[in-house]
């Protein structure tokens, strides 16, 4: 993705005083306090997707971070920040951070007091010794790297596996890779577009008033509350900016949330039934002739077949399946299709169902047949692959750092045979089959592993106890790398390395993983925490040890950073002076031959068109057209279970306070949401005899979790929503208690092995459950949290 030469001056917000720091350089002295201010665009840790918000980091003469403020020079965030960066100091100097490498005997896994502090040299020697010994015995493929979501660490997982560990088995440990990747795969297979993002003028210097931009008349938020989640690296409150400028909202969401109360349409569907809504909206738009005839004629493939297929799902039928009035589906479809420009943000909910690839297919079809792809105010696209790199225009060399270059080894990737689309596209071993492999040693033993920004026992994995047992059964040596001790590291690791935060190391960030033209920033170090290393710094250090030949060309960490993240034409020092540079973009790239590697007009698919009839799906054994399938466990597909489990369970709505399983030890954030909550409709609660604030047991045939009842009409009477990612760093870390990670983990109720035909998607947001009130009281004592973690280092 090409960048502009320099940063443009940011558009000033009206609420910003005339005394401000607009136009200040990347590092300056604050006149009032004499403190040194370092401007930075940050990306985890603290956990976050690559939104790359602008920060001003104030350090004193001792190099201590004393204050954090939003940077008004940032083109998109303009000084605004979410609570997690506002409380960055409390994270940075939290007294429970891991600051030195530590090791522990394998037979002491689970013992919180058995860790022994060691030096980096000792740590690296130990890793090299065990790595050489175990992979020597079982092969390089016996290494599995557990990747997590969003953080720089999770995203660098594939780079680690390819360049350092030299294993084919990078594994995002969530069943069906039910996060982000299914959408990427559907986008790529349908249109050669990885992630058609809502266009919020992020790459335009004049932003919403830029002459190139058009404010969309309609914004569809589908299984997504972007204000809270900053999804996939988009600045969520851009939706508010658009609402102020007149955009109307269409929300597809099983819960009433704050945004739905401001929406023109809220399609409050039964969880897991989205594909039916998608097909019905397509049917309305096609039958009423509201589509962009010209675009369909020139740039779509399989329109007639799609029309025929979606005609099997008229709005009345979808209404019955989804529990949404047919006239609302029709009204929403008309509002969307009649808009001059309209845009859709597709959410994680897309991925968290077995039928998710078909939902994604419908959403791409909606974007396409209304002509909104690559239209100003529609879906903005790079027209190519995800590019974490800054500048492939000046520097066109492809950087294959995410793929292993040894084909034979690559062929051993777990799941490549069973799910070639999943494994081939994601360069990940299949999550569910990796679990099975650790349980059975089939097709071969996995014996050594590492964590990359993942806390699977608290957060990512379904049936977490099963994952824990499988890892402890199979892996002889496991490496942890994090800022804080997590329940996952405590339960299964033998060595843990201290991870640096955003203020402790230099790096870069491409907003939204570079999947949309937005901006590219530098993360600028301003604090030295001695023993901590950044995600890519460790990559360099370990690479030099374990794969010295591959790392020969890098003389320093900065060489590696340059290789991985931006081309040879610019240096980090030069980029950092700009702090944040917007991308260049052209709309209507498909007309100009900018979408395909061969330079021909059209889309990067075999037919050169958006494949509404999807040849890729067909090739890998799925139906080329979208179809609706009930969730595996639902009132319709398993009515016999309703007596025991009468409610539909949906999980994982985001909170402002936390990034997934992080931040529970930050008092000022924990205070915003002290307890794990389960949302129950007041009518239902009355029948169950549950009162507001009572602790409940939520359970089904797979497991149980204890959460605190929040009675709210956010959920319909037959739906239960539970928060995710909970553990309690204030509690005992020793096994079996392990910070109470089992007690409230809603993933105890989610099974593995309910994935779609291509291997993608899992039912994290559409299970069945029951609820009962208990006499237990697990209320968090906030004073205890303050006493334990409030005193900063």
């Amino acid at each position: 993705m090409a960048l502009r030469k320099t940063a443009s001056p940011a558009v000033k917000l009206d609420s910003l005083s005339d005394v401000n720091d607009l136009g200040k350089p990347w590092r300056f002295t604050d006149e009032d306090t004499g403190l040194t201010v370092t401007r930075s665009c940050v990306w985890s840790p603290p956990g976050c997707h690559p939104v790359g918000c602008g920060l001003k980091l104030y350090t004193d003469e001792n190099g201590r971070l004393v204050k954090v403020e939003g940077d008004e020079n940032h083109p998109v965030t303009q000084g605004r920040l979410c609570v997690r960066c506002i409380a960055l100091k409390d994270y940075e100097y939290n007294n429970s951070r891991i600051l030195h490498p530590m090791k522990r005997d394998r037979d002491k896994r689970g013992q919180a007091d058995a860790w022994e502090e060691i030096t980096w040299d000792e740590a690296l020697d130990l890793i090299e010794e065990r790595y050489t010994e175990i992979t020597g015995k079982y092969g390089k493929e016996s290494f599995v790297n557990f990747g997590g979501t969003g953080r720089e660490g999770g995203v660098s997982c594939m780079t680690y596996t390819a360049m350092v560990w030299q294993t084919p088995n990078a594994c995002y440990t969530q069943s069906g890779y039910a996060c982000y990747f299914p959408r990427l795969a559907a986008g790529t297979m349908s249109a050669g577009l990885v992630y058609p993002e809502m266009d919020y003028a992020g790459c335009l210097p004049g932003r919403y008033d830029d002459p190139e931009y058009h404010v969309p008349e309609a914004v569809v938020l589908w299984g997504k509350v972007p204000t809270v989640s900053n999804p996939d690296g988009a600045f969520g409150h851009a939706v508010i900016d658009l609402m102020k400028r007149g955009s109307k909202l269409i929300m597809v969401d099983s819960r009433v949330n704050w945004l739905t109360t401001r929406a023109a349409y809220h399609l409050q569907l039964r969880p897991g039934t989205d594909t039916a809504i998608g097909m019905a909206m397509l049917d309305v738009i096609i039958r009423e002739g509201l589509y962009d005839h010209d675009f369909v004629e020139k740039w779509c493939y399989g329109f007639e077949q799609l029309a025929e297929r979606v005609a099997t799902m008229p709005p009345e039928k979808a209404a019955e399946i989804c529990g949404v009035p047919a006239e609302d589906i029709i009204g929403a479809a008309r509002l969307y299709a009649n808009a001059e420009a309209a845009t859709i943000q597709w959410g994680l909910a897309t991925d968290q169902k077995t039928n998710g690839m078909q939902q994604a297919q419908c959403i791409i079809a909606l974007m396409a047949i209304t002509g909104n792809i690559d239209r100003p105010g529609g879906q903005i696209t790079t027209g190519g692959a995800v590019a974490l790199d800054a500048d492939t225009e000046e520097d066109d060399e492809y950087m294959p750092y995410m793929a292993l270059d040894d084909d034979e080894l690559r062929g051993k990737m777990i799941g490549l045979k069973e799910y070639p689309a999943y494994c081939g596209m994601s360069q990940n071993s299949h999550a569910d089959l990796t679990l099975r492999c650790m349980e059975t040693d089939e097709p071969y033993p996995l014996r050594i592993g590492a964590f990359a920004g993942n806390n699977l026992l608290a957060c990512t994995s379904a049936e977490p106890k099963r994952w824990e047992a499988a890892i402890n059964r199979s892996l002889e040596f496991v490496i942890g790398f994090d800022c804080f001790m997590t329940p996952s590291i405590q339960a299964v690791c033998d060595i843990v390395l201290p991870l640096a935060t955003v203020v402790e190391r230099d790096s870069t960030v491409a907003a939204a993983y570079g999947s949309a033209p937005l901006y590219f920033g530098t993360q600028n170090k301003c604090v030295d925490e001695g023993d901590c290393r950044g995600d890519l710094e460790l990559l360099y250090i370990l690479g030099k040890r374990l794969n010295p030949k591959r790392f020969e060309e890098f003389d320093s960490y900065y060489d590696l950073l340059q290789f991985l993240r931006f081309g040879k034409s610019r240096m980090f020092e030069e980029l950092r002076e700009q702090v944040c540079i917007q991308s260049k973009n052209e709309y209507y790239k498909y007309e100009k031959g900018l979408m395909r590697p061969d330079g021909a007009p059209g889309f990067n698919t075999p037919t050169g068109r958006v494949e509404l009839y999807n040849l890729g799906f067909q090739q890998f054994g799925d139906d080329p057209l979208p179809y609706y399938e009930e969730p595996d466990f639902s009132p319709i597909s398993t009515p016999e279970l309703l007596e025991d489990y009468p409610f539909v369970l949906t999980t994982g709505a985001r909170t402002y306070a936390f990034f997934h399983s992080e931040h529970r030890q930050i008092p000022r954030l924990r205070e915003l949401n002290p307890n794990p909550l389960v949302e129950i409709n007041p009518e239902t609660a009355k029948k169950l005899g549950v009162v507001d604030g009572q602790w409940c047991r939520v359970f089904n045939q797979f497991g149980e979790a204890y959460l605190k009842a929040k009675l709210t009409v956010s959920v319909k009477p037959d739906v239960i929503h539970a928060q995710h990612g909970w553990w309690f760093p204030e509690e005992d870390g020793n096994a079996p208690h392990n910070y109470g990670v089992c007690r409230s983990n809603i993933n105890n109720l989610i099974p593995n092995f309910h994935v779609g035909k291509l291997g993608f998607g899992a039912p994290f947001k559409c299970m069945l459950c029951n609820v009962e009130g208990t006499d237990e009281n697990f209320d968090t004592d906030m004073q205890l949290i303050q006493d334990k973690f409030g005193e900063l280092r």
Partner: protein, 120 residues
């Protein structure tokens, strides 16, 4: 002296709580102490399909209108960080001019530790 205050377009306050946490960081207020709190009024049904849900940030008796910052000409830190950009600081007369009855708004004129004057 001109009365200064905070104008909040609560119609689009998302409840992000950036104001709450910013204020705590700026003033070093620990757990249990706040300079501003976001009142969460909803969701409750007005009529089928229509809900009342307003997030209304209410300054507490610990709000000093960021005197340290505002005396240097800067806006309060909650205003600076507000994700929805719905807070404005200024003189009440100027702020009132921005109210025309077409959207949900409120002006607050907090007083810092008002109890200190009770025995004056």
């Amino acid at each position: 002296m001109e009365a200064m205050g905070l104008l909040i377009d609560y119609e689009l306050c998302t409840g992000c709580q950036s104001c709450e946490v910013s204020c705590k960081e700026e003033h070093d207020y620990p757990v249990g102490k706040w300079g501003i709190r976001v009142l969460d009024d909803g969701p409750w049904e007005i009529e089928p399909g229509h809900y009342n849900w307003n997030k209304i940030p209410v300054p507490s008796d610990l709000c000093d209108l960021c005197i340290d910052r505002t005396s240097r000409g800067r806006e309060p830190i909650c205003v600076h960080h507000c994700l929805a950009n719905v807070m404005t600081y200024g003189s009440v007369c100027e702020l009132a001019k921005k109210m025309d009855g077409t959207k949900r708004q409120v002006i607050f004129t907090p007083v810092y530790k008002p109890y200190e004057k009770l025995r004056d």
